[in-house]
Subunit: 383 residues, 2 copies
């Protein structure tokens, strides 16, 4: 398996792009990545997307975009793993380049969520859960996460505002990210006063959706002259049951544990070596669970990292350095690619006020469903 | 890139399985493939599916099935390329095993189409076309193919019944395939008298949809002791514009030409070496176009192969030896995996009355959209 490097990245500002189509937003990110890589042609295209069949009535998104971008013969497919679709597409592209079958791949994570009204999007997002045994009961996706958060608070004795530091950190970091959806400072007071979504998850525990697209170009590492050279040191994926109620322990992200363990082995590192961690804070509870399952905190103690102020760009475990899902925004199938792009920006030293000093090794973790499908990628700068 | 072999296959009879869920039909095919391979565990799962987000309200089909099958840690994703989803998943799995990252992969093509009424399925199938520029005009997927067929008849001077041999051959072969949806002999007279769907495509030009699932297990070739050893000699994919009206020549399947050309090069063969060709006869016109673009007939002369009786299992270019899409049935996202499974059955010599004598090299070609995404795989028996 040959080593693979990320040569170019591109992204658009997350928001409600009523004036732009699915085609246009995905194309913008793709063209930006190609320009950044200095390439006008790639061998293959992998698109990560979750909702377009439902929200935009469009399937076959691989070819939909290869056509629009002007890759008129090259192969193209879509890879889907709910909110983990971005990283799923990245990993599939990685296998293709690593196998030697193709010499370059463009990966685009894209989601257009504003083409239908809010209620439809909530129903569409529920397709990530188990249609027969969860959704059939009338529960929404946020409702499932609320049950997990409530149980966690009960088991480990945390209060609701103990989760505030995760959201406050994400909002603070997003202030310096021009691509972020939200540029608003968050205080503990505002966190606590926010309207309830599904008890105990309120609006400030939950990430905002939006239209977004982020892209990267990967090539064999040996072909990259650009400095710093950013290589993929590890790529791992694991799954858990699709329904949360099927798990022996619903508060432990087994798939995060399995995929991060494998990633650490592949990269030859431990959690202490990770300079920053772009985790999947779709809800504040998920930030705590990711930190615990990935070896950064003991069981039930993920919240402590926030309370102890260890998660800022200057902290011991910087997370969501560009705003995370909470404030950069969560265009579901695109999120995994935003995380990859953001780790690259950190390793290139392009993050200004939220730059992690001397960042050499960064990790991204993208989650599909309620912990059902989890991808962990470790990127590092290479000599 | 290491050589990959197909160790096990499984499939279910295509039909209207009102009594079985999406879970159950995919699981049946998967378990059959695992039993055939003599394996109770695999490293990874790739699911090919097109319609489940719309028809079954279920996304994240990779983990949905890894959970059901009992692969409780292993990675799993869904790959989608409209009706080419089955082969798309197969190719993605192939890259993963070929890269050395995983040692085995289960590929399941699955489609449940009877959970919604017919009208919804027609609308769902249209998501394979261009939502903004084709579907918006009110045209259905069969309507697009009808335009191509009409033009082809006009350009090359063929009558409607000249296409009958394709459907008659598929129906004749399906008689001997227990997994086929239709077991009905077809005559030219019945072909001509069938009700019109979208002029000039009538019911006997068009493949029936249905619920179906087909699966295969792939592993590194060096690990296979089973005889005959069936290896993947070539895997190639190519794309064209998503909308048919964007093509300079709508009657030439450029993506079939590109992917078959690459596949021939990879396998070191020519069309003359192919013992059987499982082509994508979603509509009879597509059989003719596939034969032409893949080098078996001159432009406008694909129809001639049927009229000259060259396409039967005893002919020079056997096609659709198990019934093809026309009579085995076309559960859209599963079709590509049925084709792979059928080529394996031929190379194993398990096809009884439709066995191609001494078959050593077989080709499968799976098409997403109206020729937009095309996958060509060549399998062969190895020493």
């Amino acid at each position: 398996m040959r080593e693979v490097a990320i040569l170019g990245i591109g992204q658009i500002k997350i928001g409600e792009h009523w004036d732009k189509s699915l085609r246009e937003i995905g194309g913008e990110a793709a063209f930006a990545a190609m320009q950044d890589a200095g390439m006008d042609k790639v061998d293959s295209l992998y698109v990560g997307n979750m909702l377009s069949p439902i929200v935009s009535g469009q399937n076959q998104l691989g070819t939909f975009f290869s056509d629009w971008i002007g890759l008129w013969k090259q192969e193209a497919v879509k890879v889907e793993a709910a909110c983990g679709s971005g990283a799923a597409a990245f990993r599939a592209a990685l296998m293709a380049v690593a196998s030697g079958d193709v010499e370059s791949s463009l990966v685009v994570g894209v989601e257009k969520m504003t083409d239908k009204a809010g209620r439809d999007v909530t129903a569409s997002l529920a397709t990530a859960a188990d249609a027969d045994y969860e959704v059939e009961q009338g529960i929404s996706f946020v409702g499932i996460n609320a049950l997990v958060m409530r149980r966690y608070m009960h088991e480990f004795g945390w209060k609701h505002d103990d989760f505030a530091p995760f959201s406050i950190n994400s909002h603070a970091n997003a202030m310096h990210n021009p691509y972020a959806r939200l540029h608003e400072k968050l205080t503990v007071e505002r966190f606590e006063k926010s309207s309830m979504v599904a008890t105990p998850i309120n609006l400030m525990d939950a990430s905002p959706t939006g239209d977004g697209a982020a892209a990267a170009i990967i090539v064999p590492a040996e072909k990259v002259m650009r400095k710093p050279k950013i290589v993929v040191a590890a790529s791992a994926a694991a799954t858990d049951t699709i329904a949360v109620h099927s798990r022996k322990d619903p508060m432990f992200l087994k798939a995060a544990y399995e995929s991060s363990k494998r990633a650490y082995e592949m990269a030859g590192v431990t959690p202490e070596d990770i300079d920053l961690f772009e985790l999947h804070d779709a809800f504040s509870i998920m930030a705590a669970l990711s930190l615990e399952a990935s070896g950064f905190a003991e069981r039930g103690q993920g919240v402590r990292l926030g309370l102890d102020n260890e998660i800022s760009p200057q902290g011991r475990v910087p997370v969501c350095t560009r705003g995370g899902l909470k404030a950069r925004g969560h265009p579901v199938g695109a999120t995994g690619m935003y995380q990859i792009v953001e780790v690259v920006q950190q390793l290139r030293g392009e993050c200004g006020k939220t730059q992690v000093d001397g960042a050499m090794i960064g990790m991204a973790q993208n989650i599909g469903g309620s912990g059902a499908t989890i991808f962990t990628h470790i990127l590092k700068t290479a000599a």
